[in-house]
Structure formats: C-alpha cells, structure tokens
C-alpha cells in the first residue's frame, strides 16, 4: 500500500496551468494531456512525495491534486 498523487482532471481542466508537471521530481510521471487540457499521473511511477500537492494547493490554491492510498494488485 502506498500513496500516489491523483489529479481531479475535470477541475484541473478549468485552468490552463501545467505548473505541477514542471515541479515533479520524476520524469515521465506527472504528465499533461493536451486534449483534455489536464494533468494526469502515471501512477506506477509516482513515489508519493506530494510536491505537486504543494504546488497546486499551497502555492496556487487550486486544490486539484490529492494523495491517495493505492494497493498493488
């Protein structure tokens, strides 16, 4: 069981910001889908640091990302 970041894509799509993707320490993990105009997380690669949450919530006050507990199947 471990934490991963999850993006509320609908909410995220209301902004055009991409800021979280610019601060994720991991490559090819927190991506931006141009068609949806929203960020998304490649969950198996997410290490759960929550930096994106800091950027989205603490700095930008947009609260589109949450940390969630997932289970490997």
């Amino acid at each position: 069981m471990y934490y991963v970041a999850r993006v509320d894509e609908e909410k995220c799509a209301t902004y055009n910001c991409k800021q979280c993707t610019l601060f994720c320490p991991e490559a090819n993990t927190l991506m931006f889908d141009e068609r949806k105009n929203a960020a998304y997380v490649n969950e198996p690669r997410c290490k759960g640091c929550a930096l994106c949450v800091y950027v989205c919530s603490d700095l930008l006050k947009r609260d589109c990302i949450t940390m969630e507990m997932v289970t490997t199947e």
């Binding site: 993707t21 320490p25 490559a27 090819n28 991506m31 640091c49 929550a50 930096l51 603490d58």
Partner: protein, 288 residues
Amino acid sequence: MGLRYVQPAPGFKQYLPKDYVDLIDFGPFGKEVDASQIGQFKEILEEHPMCAGCWMAYFVRVFYASLPNPEDTIVLGTAGCARLALSQAAVPFIYGNYGDTNAVASGLTRALNLRFPDKQKDVIAIAGDGGLMDIGFSMTMHSWFRKEKFTTIMVDNEVYGNTGGQESGMSPKGVQLKMAPKGKKFDKLPATELAKLAGCVYVVKIAPTNIKRLSKVIKRAILAARHFGPTFIHAYTSCNIEYSIPTEEVLRDAREREKKDFGFEEYMTDEVKAFFEEIEKKKKEVKA
C-alpha cells in the same frame, strides 16, 4: 550522427518496449525541446531509484530536458546520489571512480576532439559536493585551470547523502552531521568563487525554483563550454532525508534558501557575453 544509434533496425521497432518506442516517437532527439514543456514529451530520463521528493532528482530531470544536443552528449558521474538518476537516461553515461569526473572528462573531451574535429560532442560532468569539492577537488580545479572545454555541474545537497549523511566541505558551518558530531567547524567552500578564479568562463549559482531560468543556464553552460572553456553550475539540490525536510516542502525550502544564501548569480566573461548576445540577436531576427 548520434541520432542514428537510437533508431531501431527496420522491422524491429514493433518488438521494442513501449518506453523505447515512445522515446523514438515522442522523445527530444533531433528536436529543439523546451524544458518547460516537460510533461508533454517523452523525456530521455527514465525511472530511477532516487528518494521520493528528491530535489536532486528534479534537477537531473530538468537537466536532461535542457540538453541542447542530447544525441551527441556524454554525461559523467561519480559515486553519490546523482548518478542513480544520471545513469538512467538514453544518453551515454560514464561512471568512473571516486571523484574522478573532471579528470575522466578531460581525457574524454580531448580524445573526442581528436577523433571528431568537425563535430560537436558535449561532455558534462555532474557530481555532488563531495565528489567535486572534497575527494575530486584537485581534479575539478585543475580541469578548470587547464581550460578544459566541458561543463561541470555540482548538485549540492550539502551532505554525503549516498553513504548515509556525512559532513561535506559544502555543508553549512555548524550543522551537525555524521562525522561532524559536534557540528561542522568551517564554512561552506566558496565553489563559484573558486571556479571564477580558476578560469571558468561561465559560472552560475542557482536554486532550482524556476525551470525556465534553470534550463537556460544549463543550455548556456553547455554552449559556452563548446567554444570558450570550462563552465560551472553550482545548484542547490537539498537532501530531504538528511536535513529532515518533508517531501512536499522541498520546493518551499529551495525558495527559502534562494532568498537566504542561494540567490541567483550568473557570471560570464566578456567573450561569452558577446557570444550569447549574438545568439539572442539571431533568434530575434528569425522570429521577426
């Protein structure tokens, strides 16, 4: 030419892993990518075992996204955290011995110049504070004195992170770490000042808080090294483990340190300045 070696043989592509195919189709090879587009193209850096929230891992990510010529770039690293990520990229990486990056890079750069006098091959040594300013100090300094044409990047986490948190020459004075049980007795080494004195033509001190600026100085350091001599970037890349920074706070920490003692500094010789001005001018002309 370098681009050729990442291309699979005809008919072979369908058998390759998705990550590799993505790299060919959506990677930065042969294109001019902007690091601030990360998240929208396939990066050459792959998964790596660096800690969650590591600011050094973030630096390495931006670094690889900023290479002006990734298909003709060779990266050198040494013992320490950074190489755990540095080695996981679709760019040739050399892991030598302890603190030897700048000596190996000296030989490598000279030899590449002998073999490919008409081609630009970028050589970049990236090591930590221990590798460059402690164990590899003389090799770092002398590569600069000799005016070797490659870029040196110090990812400074102010500690030996990979060996379990010992004091380094770049740890701040007073900080209590392993092997400094009563606190560090002397100041952080003045790395950028040493670089200037030793003859680096382009020297930057930076905390990675602004991707555009960070990417720009990485590109500049590499371009200046091609033509003029050694270049040096001193980047603050905190160790959230040894300095007990909650992972979600590492950006906040970087911004604080930037205000306190890691304010952006960019030094360049007049020659290098004129070179960049010329490039900017040409860019504007193309746009216009």
